[in-house]
């Protein structure tokens, strides 16, 4: 497969958008300017970027509690994202969902999710609708390594296989579920074994390399669109910040050395080296590119801060379609 310069730039743009937004959100959270729980995607950008770059706009995705990256990589809007994180009326969910429920149905992003594993069956449903209507679309579910321990994942995997649905399972294996290392909560070596158990193929991918993810996703998606049934990618990745927020927590569930070691495989740094090496961009161009996106991020903070909070009457709006209140 040829990975063109345009694709390299596209992958980079998706990752930088996620990185700069997330770093900003982290800073805002640290200075108590964001309410609620914030699960940052920093370190895992190559996964969302690589997969989303291989999708059509209309292909559906479901996401997780760590969902900002998925929406941004699919083209999400900084302003509406930032406004949502601040609970403003101009946010993606009118301020009612927040970080864990961020969504954009126009981008076929069917929502982050506060319940671990809950997005996976929903992707099965989207895939089923795709199959029924022969619309040529596929659905993708992003989920963590920890999520593959929950029943919802297993029911969904089996059903997608049994019904031969156009669905891509993307495991973001960052080796931890909150503060629990993976080896303490599952007895298999690689998460990908779980796909085989349900009778569909999968591959392990370097989740720090957006090109590797893009290539694997492109291959899988082609087969899925051809009606070969579900597939799974296990992307080996790492989260650079804590489970919630930025700072380290009281318990030493992982060492600073480990984090430092993994930071050497920063997906942006890897990709920047590639851009320079292949002559697609030089250092100054890279910096200018980032500065441009940082400006958009800064503007989104401004936008969000100036936006109004929802009105109190909004509480009862959208409980049901077409109103109806008890």
């Amino acid at each position: 497969m040829e990975v063109t310069d345009e694709i390299l730039i596209d992958l980079y743009k998706r990752m930088v958008r996620v990185r700069l937004f997330e770093e900003e959100a982290g800073r805002l959270a640290e200075s108590a300017r964001l309410p609620g729980f914030l699960h940052l995607y920093v370190g895992e950008e190559a996964v969302a970027a690589g997969v989303c770059a291989a999708l059509k706009n209309e292909d559906q995705i479901t996401s997780t509690h760590r969902g900002h990256g998925h929406l941004l990589a699919k083209g999400g809007d900084f302003n509406r994202m930032m406004a949502e994180l601040m609970g403003k009326a101009t946010g993606y969910c009118n301020g009612k969902g927040g970080s864990m429920h961020i969504c954009d149905l126009d981008l076929a992003m069917l929502g982050a999710n506060g319940i671990v594993g809950a997005g996976v069956p929903i992707s099965v449903g989207a895939a089923y609708a795709n199959k029924l209507t022969s619309n040529g679309l596929i659905s993708v579910s992003f989920f963590g390594d920890g999520a593959t321990n929950i029943g919802a994942f297993h029911e969904a995997a089996n059903m997608a296989a049994a019904l031969s649905l156009p669905m891509l399972f993307v495991c973001e294996n960052n080796e931890y579920a909150e503060y629990s290392p993976r080896h303490k909560t599952m007895a298999i070596a690689d998460v990908i074994e779980r796909a085989a158990a349900y009778g569909f193929p999968g591959a392990i991918v370097d989740g720090m390399d957006s090109v590797a993810v893009f290539e694997a996703a492109t291959l899988a998606i082609e087969k899925i669109r051809n009606g070969e049934g579900p597939m799974m990618l296990e992307c080996k990745t790492y989260r650079f910040y804590d489970h919630v927020g930025v700072k380290g927590t009281a318990s030493n569930y992982r060492t600073d050395e480990e984090v430092e070691e993994m930071r050497k495989r920063d997906p942006l740094v890897i990709h920047e080296a590639r851009l320079v090496e292949s002559g697609v961009m030089n250092d100054e161009e890279i910096q200018a590119f980032k500065d441009e996106i940082q400006k958009e991020v800064d503007a989104s903070v401004e936008f969000a801060e100036q936006s109004p909070f929802p009105e109190s009457d909004d509480i009862l709006v959208d409980v049901y379609t077409n109103g109806g209140v008890s």
Partner: protein
Amino acid sequence: MSPDNIFEGASGSENSESNSGERKLGYGAAVVETMAQIMREDESVFLAGEDVGAHGGVFGYFRGLQPEFGDERVVDTPIAEQAIIGLGIGAAVQGMRPVVDLMFMDFICVAMDQIANQAAKLKYMFGGGAKLPLTITTAGGAGLSAAAQHSQSLEAMLCHIPGLKVAMPSDAYEVKGLLTSCIREDNPTVFIINKRKLADACHVPEELFEIPLGKGHIFREGSDVTLVAIGRMVDEARGAADILSEEGIDCELINPRTVQPLDIDLIVESVSKTGNLVIVHEAVRFGGIGAEIAAQIQEEAFDYLDAPIGRVAAPFSPIPFSPVLEKQYVPDAERIAAGVRNLS
């Protein structure tokens, strides 16, 4: 804000002394202390749940247990709510006395078959043969901008299922007394920890003691109106009683402590004295525990009532994320006071 921050200060140096020389203990710290004391005296007690061990629970209220009791009696489980409850049920039937934790109360929905169809009914379906000394701990309540899937108060759902008992401690003293009773109880119990209360301290005896499940508590005596409040709403109702007392309205404040079984006699007695009743809870008003209390009071104390029973509770919507909406969503002292003034 992360769950860990919420707890900082609560686990702290564990206890301090008030002016009167009474020992004070935080609400969250009372969970750890009670667990540790019970686990020391009863080898059949163990704790299982997500991140309860090495991390000490995401809210910190199991911190220190795994170092003392080891990783077999304080077990970090996979993310598997159904299997966590099942683990407790199976072990309980085998004579253990498990405490299993569902990190957030919202996650009971993931485990509802094991809770409602299995734990609650096994004894009855088996013709009485099985004993189920199982305690489910879980963190409920709103107010942290944790949004619709991490903030709910679902106690009414649980109370509706025969076979379960449900405790809702409103302060650290009740944490200790009710948790002790729940763990020593031979039936499945759900112990609902309010995540906004974790750092609040009050006097708590050093030794283990039991608060009987099904016995309410008169928090404050009064003659004009009976206020029944559960869980954290006891604090807000107390605030309302203070506001109202300045207006010359004397409230009697009752805290049922457990909502299943429910100490209806205590409420009947109070209403027969005051003639007025307002019920307060954090859960949505429709189908909440207030509806049950109101129904029972009109059956038992209709003749004493001077006005229709009032309820102050959440509106019929999921819990909104935005702090401004959430603040209006959760009942507070002002709204409760208004609810009392509105009694016609």
